[in-house]
Symmetry: C2
Subunit: 260 residues, 2 copies
């Protein structure tokens, strides 16, 4: 699955031959988080993303009522081309499904949001080990005391992901991720978890705990879980997201997202 194209993987997903995590598939193609909201919430959500570009970097917003991301994957259909979806009603998880065609309405807008998978590839290519990949688990994620900028009904704290590394690698990783503002960009914080409101680094709020070695410091990036958490807080009557790890694979090449 690693060397297939985005289009090939999406076809397998549509046929429900792939129904789980897309991590490591179609290497080099940009994967994205999904948030679907009704048009009535779309302006506030888009404004939230403009005000919080590190937590909510937008890859594409579909036209109202269209399930086709015409700019980043024109031959795809957002309703069938992700392995798993979660349906939230009034801010509460309702069900997980493999196809959202029956749920699609003509006032819906899909937001594709940049994902840290994109910058992990160049980290690995620079010989910077990524611990949760080494330990074959999910990246650890934490709620912080950093408040996002409000936008209409959307407000809440920033969620961050953490990768432990040596201080030399933290410097190089800062350089590398700075080039990718569309997928969270540079780190939010390096070094002291308590200064951003994290009390126990070994107890992440989402994902899994990973080993932090003696010579390593924790490096934190804004995380795409933030907009989902923030949208959920506002309790929209209907919100649809990707299932955990089950991302949308666009036709964009990660390398082309680099600004320099």
């Amino acid at each position: 699955m690693k060397f297939k194209t985005a289009k090939e993987i999406r076809r397998l997903i549509r046929a429900q031959e792939i129904t789980n995590s897309t991590a490591g598939m179609a290497i080099g193609y940009t994967q994205a988080n999904l948030v679907i909201l009704r048009k009535e919430h779309a302006y506030d959500f888009l404004l939230f993303s403009q005000r919080n570009p590190k937590a909510c970097p937008i890859i594409e917003v579909t036209d109202v009522g269209s399930p086709i991301p015409k700019l980043t994957a024109p031959n795809s259909d957002i309703r069938t081309d992700l392995p798993r979806y979660r349906i939230y009603r009034d801010g509460k998880f309702d069900e997980e499904v493999l196809d959202i065609t029956p749920y699609w309405e003509n006032d819906m807008v899909a937001f594709l949001i940049g994902c840290s998978f994109t910058f992990e590839t160049p980290l690995l290519e620079n010989d910077i080990p990524v611990r949760h990949i080494e330990e074959k688990c999910n990246v650890p994620m934490y709620k912080t005391n950093i408040q996002c900028e409000d936008a209409g009904k959307f407000h809440g704290p920033m969620v961050v992901s953490m990768r432990p590394m040596t201080s030399e690698n933290a410097i190089r990783a800062t350089q590398i991720t700075s080039r990718y503002p569309q997928v969270h960009g540079s780190p939010i914080h390096i070094g002291d978890p308590s200064s951003i409101g994290i009390t126990n680094i070994h107890k992440p709020d989402f994902g899994d705990s990973v080993t932090i070695k003696k010579n390593e410091i924790p490096v934190f990036w804004a995380c795409g879980v933030t907009p989902q958490a923030v949208a959920m807080e506002s309790k929209p009557d209907l919100m649809i997201t990707h299932g955990p790890g089950c991302m949308f694979i666009t036709d964009l090449l990660d390398k082309k997202l680099s600004v320099i």
Copy 2:
């Protein structure tokens, strides 16, 4: 005026002691283009900016009905703190005024859009001559055959600004401006005007013609006139913009907009 702060200059503007171009004032502070639209047009305009970030890089969007850019100049008022405004009705220029307080309505949204003033400072600091500054005129701007990505009712061609320079300087200027995605970022085109639909480089559609020396090539950047032109095309009943050259000066420091 060069070494005053943004706040000091805004106070002089509010008192109508400055009523003309802000070029060269409050050096180091980020100046922005202004587009004010009613809320009904705001979603499409914000989506247009998301889809066309080089032509329409957003610095801030005010809350609906609020004339205060709370993130980039919290002590300012968008209705009084620009030297000159233009009022457009149904897509046609109606009048130029020094204060838009009487025109402000509680469903209005102000968009502050990045401006190439921000990247001209680091060009000059890198000893790259900027011809229209040397020749004390406006930057030449051209309509191109590059179509912007549509968003709802907003569509139209990209307008570009042009700076002639040696090919070595074009390379260095590409590096420098790449670091500033919030103010148009890297060039759109280098070298051949005809390939982007410009028939006569000496006859710009807006601004002034500048000298192109024998050893120089034209370098083109997406221009903040694009969103104004595009918004005007859609003929909103009311649109307010800054007067030419009469920008809004934020409290942001240009240097802080650099992503790397």
